[in-house]
């Protein structure tokens, strides 16, 4: 359904490891096709020449940073998973809960090329000595579910999953688990609770999932795109991966970048890590007619707003991190000058308030209040002090103060919107403090 906007002719195995097999008509890459384009060879290679440790080291050397948004080194995470004598074999879990506003990359990979993900998971399973993999797929992705289900049975039928993977003495299988909604399921520990059939409240860290994850066993959680990068690394080596991004970034590899919002041609591209926002905007055909760029989100709703001047920056974790925002998922959301930032921020905070799991106080009770304040400002019914209150909330919803990263994610756009567009918020203040007035609309609860 979503499209990679580079035509097949532009996508080469050497430069587009994630997408070179994709068809222009969006039909899924079949098992046979995948095999005939060197698919699953990385698994064969790994089983042949790698130990658990050496495979992990290879991924660590490639400096593959997590594509789920936090950018944590995948190899590093794997090296921290408890394994070895006496430790029971645990799980690898693919985080396919993609619900970050503005993000539509994992769905494309799963719908159109599920074998790449499966191959990546087998490799992750091997490196982490897991006994079982789960793909935690959000419930709304029906097409991806069908595609994955089909691919799993093809892979199993061909000996890549199940007992004695590809004739080795190593057993590993993958099951598809579909969710039932709720953005918070994407938070890796909430995801594990959800997998266990519980309410998706996050878990405290430590212990990290690698110590005690699903059902108390060592567990690795990685994003779809992260896992899709692993076969390439194993097949071609860490250096090759590093070189993909060339001079553009210290982070290796390519990235599925995208743009949506008020652009002419929203879509996705596989580009070297560190490609600039400017290039994405250009590839998206620029702003829609008659509009100019006012602001943009670098990688989903939980990242901070940036200004046009930031477009020249490399879109990688450290560079964007340096602005006070976050690279997030790397799919930019483009905001035009006719858009009220107060309304957009209100929309984002409504999202975060509704999707809060309800476990910790700041997020559960703070976010809905911020929504009410934003609605008041949006309706021109703000009071003096409201903006300062919002700023205080943005601070007190920050990292370390809440139980998980959901609320800090909500705080980012809030703080940055006020920081860059304070005057728009000030325009919402019309009344003296404390005067009685009609209730704004209550938060909808679903």
């Amino acid at each position: 359904m979503s499209r990679i906007l580079q035509p097949a002719s532009e996508r080469r195995p050497e430069t587009h490891p994630l997408t070179f097999r994709l068809h222009d008509d969006e039909s899924p890459v079949s098992f046979d096709e995948y095999r005939s384009t060197h698919g699953y060879e990385a698994v064969a290679q790994a089983l042949d020449k790698h130990t658990f440790e050496s495979l992990t080291d290879e991924v660590k050397a490639a400096n593959l940073r997590g594509r789920g948004g936090a950018g944590f080194s995948a190899g590093m995470k794997w090296s921290l998973t408890m394994k070895g004598e006496g430790v029971p074999r645990g799980y690898v879990v693919c985080n396919a809960d993609e619900m970050e506003p503005g993000t539509f990359k994992d769905r494309l990979l799963m719908e159109q090329q599920p074998h790449l993900l499966i191959e990546g998971m087998i490799l992750a399973g091997y490196a982490n000595r897991a006994k079982q993999g789960y793909i935690f797929l959000r419930g709304e992705y029906h097409r991806a579910a069908a595609s994955i289900q089909r691919a799993l049975s093809d892979a199993r039928a061909n000996g890549w999953l199940g007992k004695r993977v590809n004739g080795s003495d190593w057993d590993f299988d993958i099951a598809l688990h579909t969710g039932a909604g709720r953005y918070i399921c994407g938070e890796e520990t909430a995801l594990i609770n959800s997998l266990e059939g519980k309410r998706a409240n996050p878990r405290a860290k430590p212990p990290f999932p690698g110590q005690s994850g699903a059902w108390g066993l060592p567990t690795v959680v990685n994003n779809v795109e992260t896992l899709c990068n692993v076969p390439g690394i194993v097949a071609h080596g860490a250096d090759w991966f590093q070189a993909l991004s060339g001079e553009l970034s210290d982070d290796g590899g390519t990235k599925l970048y995208g743009a949506s919002g008020k652009v002419k041609q929203p879509g996705l591209w596989e580009l070297p890590m560190g490609t600039s926002g400017r290039e994405l905007l250009e590839r998206a055909g620029g702003m829609r007619d008659g509009l100019t760029l006012k602001s943009w989100l670098p990688g989903g709703g939980s990242t901070g707003f940036l200004l046009p001047e930031h477009l020249e920056l490399a879109l990688d974790f450290d560079t964007i991190g340096g602005t006070g925002s976050r690279m997030g998922t790397g799919l930019i959301t483009v905001v035009a000058d006719n858009q009220s930032l107060v309304s957009l921020t209100r929309n984002l905070e409504e999202f975060f308030a509704r999707e809060s799991c309800g476990w910790c106080t700041p997020c559960r009770d703070g976010l809905p209040w911020s929504v009410k304040l934003l609605r008041a400002l949006e309706a021109g019914e703000g009071e003096p002090g409201d903006i300062e209150l919002l700023e205080q909330m943005a601070r007190d919803l920050g990292p370390g103060k809440t139980f998980c990263a959901h609320a800090p994610g909500a705080a980012m756009p809030l703080a940055s919107a006020i920081h860059y567009f304070r005057d728009e918020f000030e325009r919402g203040i019309s009344r003296p403090r404390g005067e009685a007035h009609a209730d704004p609309i209550p938060v909808g609860s679903v």
Binding site: R203, P206, G216, C360, D365, W369, G385, K401
Partner: protein, 928 residues
């Protein structure tokens, strides 16, 4: 140990703690909600934030949740830091966003943790100007009222209810700012520990419904340290009184015994104290020449009653006394003094008395300790023989649950997860637990966490125990013809007990079977011989002072009735005992008719009371003082909560022992001297060596702090000058209490700084809720600083005596007879609490339980009448089909069917005939 630096001061703290626990234990105040000393940390509320610095030079620091931050040696933290303070104030402000601020009408007001924490953080201005979220409430049954709008979403209720107490029906529903705590559908809460929600909930969501019916603020209640009289576990309670009624019962912290939690029978069963039909004045029934008692009694004044009783007793050639296992040691002792030790009966049926004495001997002889409830929580393998603990001693069952859960902490330790990290421990544990083996006739509520739950007849349960003992120590007698399945189970139990460091055996008297008790004794002896130095033996007794009576000496009830029947004695004084619940009505009736004079001292209008020539109105636990001995062998003092005659001058209620003392003097034609409880307790201590440790509880009455007595009333107690104004505009002096260090007043010491073991109510400046107990403990959740109340009478002794070698044959079902077992009942199984309305509302209608196969054989459907004939007695109950009861056995609810009670008592194996019932079953069904 570790050193931490808090706001510039250095402290030594336990390095296995988290910072919140450590700081609270130091007496430093940090506000918190989701953390609870008994339930650990989950980091949800974010209220306990403090600043933590990397080292002495770091001046920026970082906010951490103190409950989730482990103590590290040389850690620098600040509670007073501005950012931390501001954040804590913001958290309270957020919690208050949806809180209705309805303190004036909220029943939590005045003992509310949320109020305390709000004041502590300094939050006093509302900035939120929008609409609040509201919820609908549920009807949760007779015990718990529900007001969800007050919820601050700390998750303590579900964590207690599900994780700690194993409940299934209460949970957290919804998400984001619409989280709802309640039942999955409206209805009565199923847990036997639901009452603790009222204390675990930091605000007024779950409050005491029984209290609501006659509500009084905490500060207007008069309290005393008391002991629950509703079973033998010996939980410490704080009953609160106003206007002469008990208004509610709160948990009283005892670090060795009940900790923070009570069962619902104990908490909600107090209604018998307030019953309108209680005798409050002496009653006299004239006898006709045919010895028949007059229909309606005449009330007498105290002196007249004493004279009257003394006169008629003087006419008797021999007077015997029948004591009671629900009365204090002091009252029983005073009775023995009145009638002479040779004429004293414990009031306990002969079989039960033998078993009580045997249990006591085993507690001394087997060489293993009798653990406290806290020690039970640390057992790492438990074998339960014959006891359905949740029904027979619920609080013990709750401790056994914690023992099983203890495995989580052990597993956590292998991966570096501290035991306070509650959710992480739960994750690592999944459903692993320390092994618990249960052998009972019918399914129990602990089955779900048992390694194995086995259903069997009492004989077979005993055989399992004997087989386990033999498997542990081959010199223990072997069980003849042991079935292969049973042998395997015995091996498994033995292996688990041997593998454990702190194995525990639990048995008791619920099934009235000596063989089970002996079997447990053999297991304990075998553990001692296998050098299990930390092994434990817990033996459940039925009543609050069963153990005490066993220690005091005295004959059985059967003996007493025989004396009367045979004319050996013709005067009898009966103390707080309804004989009709213990032996067959016909027999009791006959014996009492034979007696020339029957004096009954009790606080309830029992059948026995109605049979008295003279009835003397006694105080309940709330109106008297005394000592009880719990099943742990812990002698504990309970204190009078209020003086019944202060507000009701017409009342002539006295402590039983005071009546007995006065009666003795009157009988001996002496003037009635003032007596102080301490003298009596001293005297009891001299009765038997086993009781000598009671000396350590006296002289209690002279205990003072800074020369002050201890206050029974909070210092904000109001209305004192007005509360008696309907009687007299002059406020009389407060009643004087010579028996205890407590005053019937708010004057006196009620602080926490000076160590004292007996605390009427927990209060410290800024801490009005039950969390104020923190301030009285050596370490939060530990022991009271002055030591936990009570003295233990069963110290571990070297093993003596030998294995029991009389082993029962396997149960064989017979064609035409059924073996009867009584199944203990938490609600309804206790003579006193079943007089309380809320308990009645929770009592299951009494039914006879049969296996499905037996019911089919008899052609009986569920609910059909069944007639049961035991000896002479026949009664009819409706049938309950039990999926777990073995064939050939029928189960009767213990204590709930007075008609059945006599049938249950004699002998070890009671057999009876069971047939489809002919008539309708009037009584049982109608009662509830």
């Amino acid at each position: 140990m570790a050193t931490i630096h808090v706001d510039g001061n250095d402290y030594e703290v336990e390095d296995s703690d988290n910072l919140l626990h450590a700081c609270l234990s130091l007496g430093l105040d940090i506000p918190y909600f989701c953390w609870h000393p008994a339930m650990g940390s989950v980091g949800a509320c974010r209220q306990c934030a403090v600043k933590q610095y990397k080292d002495a030079d770091d001046d920026r620091g970082m906010l951490v949740m103190s409950c989730m931050a482990p103590v590290k040696d040389d850690a620098y933290i600040s509670i007073a830091d501005d950012e931390a303070k501001a954040f804590r104030e913001t958290v309270i402000e957020w919690l208050m966003v949806n809180h209705p601020h309805d303190c004036p009408v909220c029943e939590e007001g005045g003992h509310c943790h949320l109020q305390d924490m709000t004041v502590m953080t300094g939050h006093d201005r509302r900035r939120y100007r929008f609409r609040k979220r509201t919820h609908r409430n549920q009807n949760l049954g007779p015990f718990i009222a529900h007001e969800m709008n007050r919820c601050i979403t700390c998750y303590r209720c579900t964590r207690f209810y599900q994780d700690y107490a194993g409940g299934e029906d209460l949970g957290a529903f919804g998400a984001h700012d619409n989280v709802y705590f309640g039942r999955y559908e409206e209805g009565t809460l199923e847990s036997e520990f639901s009452g603790n929600l009222t204390e675990v909930c930091p605000t007024g969501v779950f409050t005491d419904q029984t209290h609501s019916d006659h509500y009084t603020r905490k500060w207007d209640l008069q309290f005393a340290p008391s002991i629950c009289h509703q079973c033998a576990a010996g939980c410490n309670i704080s009953p609160g009184e106003r206007y002469g009624d008990i208004r509610r019962i709160e948990n009283r912290y005892n670090g060795d015994v009940n900790g923070y939690f009570l069962c619902d029978r104990g908490r909600f069963g107090y209604g018998y104290v307030n019953r309108q039909d209680r005798p409050t004045r002496p009653e006299w029934r004239q006898r006709s020449h045919e010895r028949a008692l007059a229909e309606s009694p005449t009330t007498l004044e105290v002196d007249a009653a004493l004279d009257c009783a003394a006169d008629s007793l003087r006419g008797a050639k021999r007077i015997i006394g029948i004591g009671s296992p629900r009365a204090s040691l002091e009252s029983n002792h005073m009775l023995a003094q009145l009638v002479g030790e040779a004429n004293f009966s414990t009031g306990i049926e002969a079989g039960e008395l033998t078993r009580i004495r045997r249990m006591q001997a085993l507690n001394r002889e087997t060489g293993v300790a009798t653990p406290s409830l806290r020690e039970i929580e640390h057992a790492d393998a438990v074998l339960v023989l014959g006891e359905d603990l949740i029904q027979s001693a619920a609080r013990v069952g709750l401790s056994v649950r914690q023992a099983v859960r203890g495995k989580g902490a052990e597993l956590g330790a292998t991966r570096g997860i501290p035991d306070w990290n509650a959710e992480a421990i739960k994750t690592i544990a999944q459903d692993a637990g320390h092994p618990l083996f249960l052998a009972t006739p019918e399914a129990t509520k602990l089955d779900g966490i048992a390694a194995h739950a086995w259903r069997a007849a009492p004989q077979d349960i005993a055989r399992l125990g004997f087989a386990v003992a033999h498997a542990l120590d081959p010199t223990a007698p072997a069980v003849a013809d042991l079935e292969a399945e049973l042998a395997r189970l015995a091996e498994r139990c033995a292996d688990a007990l041997l593998a454990a460091k702190r194995p525990l055996v639990i048995a008791g008297d619920s099934l009235g079977d000596m063989a089970i008790i002996e079997a447990a004794g053999n297991v304990a002896r075998a553990l001692a011989r296998r050098q299990k130095a930390e092994a434990g033996l817990t033996l459940i007794r039925r009543e609050a002072n069963s153990v005490g009576l066993g220690l005091l000496g005295g004959e059985s009830l059967d003996w007493a009735l025989e004396r009367l029947e045979h004319g050996d004695a013709d005067g009898v004084v009966i103390l707080e005992n309804d004989l009709y619940t213990r032996l067959s009505a016909a027999r009791v009736e006959a014996a009492l008719t034979e007696a020339g004079c029957v004096v009954v001292i009790d606080h309830q209008r029992t059948t026995t009371w109605e049979r008295a020539d003279i009835g003397l109105p006694a105080g309940t636990f709330a109106e008297s003082d005394g000592t009880l001995v719990s099943l742990e062998g812990r002698a504990q003092r309970f204190y009078q909560v209020f003086d019944p005659s202060y507000l009701r001058p017409e009342s002539r209620i006295r402590e039983s022992w005071r009546w007995l003392h006065a009666l003795k003097a009157t009988l001996e034609r002496q003037t009635v001297e003032t007596i102080v409880l301490d003298e009596l307790t001293e005297a009891v201590a001299g009765v038997a060596p086993a009781l000598a440790a009671l000396h350590r509880n006296t002289p209690e009455s002279l205990f003072r702090i800074h020369g002050l007595k201890l206050a029974r009333e909070p210092h904000r107690y109001s209305g004192r000058t007005a509360m008696r104004a309907n009687l007299d505009v002059n406020e009389p002096r407060a009643s004087v209490d010579l028996d205890t260090p407590f005053a019937f007043s708010m004057e006196g010491y009620s602080g926490y700084r000076e160590p004292r073991r007996e605390v009427a109510f927990a209060w410290a400046p800024g801490w009005n809720s039950p969390q104020a107990w923190n301030k009285f403990q050596d370490e939060v959740g530990g022991h009271l600083r002055a030591g936990d109340p009570g003295v233990r009478l069963f110290p571990v002794q070297p093993a003596s005596g030998d294995y029991c070698a009389t082993l029962p044959d396997a149960f064989a079902r017979s064609e035409h007879e059924w073996q009867i077992v009584d199944l203990p009942q938490l609600f309804g199984g206790d003579e006193m609490s079943r007089r309380a309305e809320p308990i009645q509302a929770r009592m299951a209608p009494p039914r006879v339980a049969l296996s499905h196969a037996d019911a089919a054989r008899l052609g009986i459907d569920a609910g059909a009448p069944v007639s049961i004939t035991v000896g002479e007695a026949t009664f009819v109950l409706s049938a309950r089909l039990s999926p777990s009861l073995p064939n050939g056995i029928v189960g009767l609810p213990a204590g709930s069917v007075p008609e059945a009670a006599p049938a249950l008592t004699p002998g070890t194996i009671r057999r009876g005939r069971v047939a489809p019932g002919a008539r309708d079953i009037g009584t049982g069904e109608a009662r509830s």
